[in-house]
């Protein structure tokens, strides 16, 4: 009888011990997994403060970071947890930082924003687009900076191209003089020089595009490694290629036209003998 009572009491005691729930799962990002050598199934202790009391969790997934420009320069790690568990660990109570709300179309979005902002106090509804604009301000600045650098580079390239074309046409002064003396019209000479300039510009653009593509691959390879992100840092799009080739062609033709017109305006005999340049040199020496 006594034994039966003791057994009943013992059984009751066992029943009253609360069953500890199994550890919950978290997802961590690749960067943390690689640096801390964590694998799926590993148990971690998550705390809000260093050395504090926390929860044991199991790594359920390792996630790849999105190609999000706003996270590029940040070296921090990311752990994705169940909301209630995070609230409990950081002592946040029944609070969240933001809600993501899906709506049925643009009209529904407008009315949802209106309703939320009319009804709510202490928080504000935004469109995803507005938040994207705000968070991408850094990249707008970088983009403006790149554009400014691009303009400087274009100016430098234009001068370089003009200089090369001038030299190239100048080198052919004797040929041009001979052609003029043979009776070939100035117009034909200008045209031939411009065709040559166009060919040089197109060929140069082709080589430039190839070099640009190789440089873009190298830049992406390097910065993806440095920042550990799948983000593309340099992109060569068809519009960029069209812009570069068009610009090069226009600049090449303009340079060719300027140089050719300069040549055909000079008397053919002076071109042949180079008298004008010699006179300039002599003047410089005598002065």
């Amino acid at each position: 009888m006594l034994a039966a009572l003791l057994l009943a009491a013992f059984t009751q005691t066992i029943d009253s011990i609360p069953v500890r729930p199994p550890p919950r799962t978290v997802a961590i990002d690749e960067r943390l997994a690689a640096d801390a050598r964590i694998k799926i199934g590993d148990r971690l202790v998550v705390t809000a403060t260093p050395g504090g009391i926390g929860d044991t969790v199991v790594v359920g997934a390792i996630v790849r970071r999105r190609a999000d420009p706003s996270e590029v320069a940040r070296a921090d790690y990311r752990v994705i947890m169940h909301l209630d568990e995070l609230q409990s660990i950081v002592g946040y109570g029944d609070r969240v930082d933001r809600f993501a709300v899906a709506t049925r179309g643009a009209a529904a979005t407008d009315s949802a924003i209106r309703h939320i902002n009319d009804a709510a106090f202490g928080f504000q509804a935004y469109r995803s687009r507005e938040i994207a604009v705000e968070t991408s301000r850094t990249f707008l600045v970088v983009s403006r900076f790149h554009r400014a650098i691009g303009v400087i580079t274009i100016v430098a390239s234009a001068i370089f191209l003009l200089c090369i074309m001038l030299l190239k046409v100048d080198e052919r002064r004797r040929d041009v003089a001979a052609l003029r003396l043979l009776g070939i019209s100035a117009r034909s000479i200008v045209r031939s020089v411009m065709v040559e300039a166009a060919l040089v510009a197109v060929f140069g653009s082709g080589v430039g595009v190839a070099l640009g593509w190789v440089a873009a691959q190298l830049v992406n390879w390097h910065y993806r490694g440095v920042y550990r992100t799948p983000l593309a840092f340099a992109l060569i799009t068809p519009s960029i290629v069209v812009l570069a080739v068009t610009l090069s062609l226009v600049l090449g033709l303009a340079a060719g036209l300027l140089a050719a017109q300069r040549l055909v305006r000079m008397p053919a005999l002076e071109l042949l003998t180079g008298r004008r340049e010699e006179r300039r040199g002599e003047n410089a020496l005598s002065s």
């Binding site: 650098i149 100016v155 370089f160 090369i164 001038l166 003047n283 410089a284």
Partner: protein, 395 residues
């Protein structure tokens, strides 16, 4: 004579020389800008961090100062421990937050700094005085502009809001006693500063005895790294950073700009070098007859080389001088673009002019000019005299 000959050659093809100088000027401007970019940000940040004499900063574990909303608990204990460390002379705790300030029926949200007014290093007073009493605050120009508040006004401020009760929390009436310039704030930031205890009380239990940052000044002549080590040992639950560590971490984050500066600087130098090389090579090819005549009448090969090198250096030098002016103007423009970076202190300059940079860029271009002239001139001066004379005469 050498200079005269070089001058005669350069003025013989004026438009060509002018274009080359222009090309070198643009390359030099770009090179100077990139040299300024590669060092400017670092120097500027260092100057900013050391401007108030605080060599060390304590932030929540694993973060940089004000990088996140995290705070350091038990601020008074941290201060007590820090005071026991030799060579620590000043400890300035800072708590960050937001205040919603109602002025004339409008509510303006401002970044708030809770500081110890007697040792603070976050702002300087432009007008008025430091907030000494618990119910006083100072504000930035942007806040004053936005709110229309004047010194002496009493403002109604709140540190938070309760969505369920639909009311502000942590309310306090604060008297505006000063207009301040905040060193570490971005441009156009509405900012206020008040005693740290006031802000802690206004924020409630979340911020009780907490700080976002401690700025620490070590004794003059003390080994800052040794002090840092002692702090790390005494307070393992916070991250202590020296100015050097902070610079290193910022360097890592903004390494993109340094690398960009290096690549574009190298490209600019290469473009300038190529331009001058092409020009000098063509010039030498055109003057082969003149060169071999000089050689035939007994002019030494080295004199010929020197004359042609002088031409290259002259183009580079004049181009570089023009480029320095152009570079300063473009640097100013580029800096104004990058100054719009969100969250960046207004005092940071990405492009900082230092005479050393200018001399460095000028020196690099001059060396490039010398190198650009050496090969074509040496080739021209080494041609067989008789054969070349005959070829030039026959055509």
């Amino acid at each position: 004579m050498l200079l005269q000959l070089a001058w005669a050659t350069l003025t013989r093809h004026r438009s060509r020389t002018l274009l080359a100088i222009l090309g070198v000027a643009v390359s030099a401007a770009m090179l100077l800008d990139m040299v300024m970019l590669s060092t400017g940000m670092r120097v500027s940040l260092r100057n900013l961090l050391l401007s108030r004499g605080f060599q060390l900063r304590l932030a929540p574990k694993g973060t940089l100062p004000f990088d996140t909303d995290a705070t350091i608990p038990d601020a008074s204990t941290v201060i007590r421990v820090l005071r026991t460390i030799p060579d620590v002379t000043t400890i300035s705790p800072v708590l960050g937050g937001q205040l919603h300030i109602t002025v004339g029926g409008r509510t303006i949200t401002a970044t708030a700094l809770g500081v110890d007014p007697s040792v603070q290093g976050d702002f300087e007073i432009a007008q008025g005085r430091i907030p000494a009493a618990p119910n006083e605050l100072v504000a930035s120009d942007d806040f004053l502009r936005a709110s229309g508040a004047k010194l002496g006004d009493t403002l109604s401020a709140a540190a938070g809001y309760d969505p369920q009760l639909r009311s502000f929390t942590g309310r306090r009436a604060l008297v505006l006693v000063g207009r301040a310039h905040f060193f570490y704030m971005p441009a156009e930031q509405r900012a206020v500063a008040l005693p740290i205890t006031t802000l802690q009380q206004m924020r409630g239990t979340d911020a009780r005895d907490r700080a976002s940052l401690f700025m620490i000044r070590a004794r003059d002549g003390a080994d800052v790294e040794a002090v840092l080590h002692r702090i790390q040992t005494a307070l393992p639950t916070v991250t202590a950073v020296s100015t050097e560590t902070a610079l290193r971490q910022v360097d890592e984050r903004l390494s993109y700009f340094r690398q960009l500066a290096f690549i574009l600087g190298a490209v600019s130098l290469a473009v300038g070098f190529l331009l001058v090389t092409t020009l000098v090579t063509v010039s030498v090819n055109e003057r082969l007859g003149e060169i071999v005549v000089m050689r035939a009448i007994g002019v030494a090969r080295s004199r010929v080389v020197l004359q042609i090198v002088i031409e290259g250096v002259a183009i580079m030098f004049v181009g570089a001088l023009a480029g320095l002016l152009l570079g300063l103007a473009t640097a100013r423009y580029l800096n104004s673009i990058l100054a719009a970076f969100p969250g960046l202190p207004a005092a940071i300059d990405f492009f900082l002019f230092e005479p050393r940079d200018a001399w460095g860029a000028l020196g690099l271009l001059t060396v490039a000019g010398i190198l650009a002239g050496i090969y074509p001139s040496w080739r021209g001066a080494s041609l067989p005299i008789a054969i070349t004379l005959r070829e030039e005469a026959v055509g």
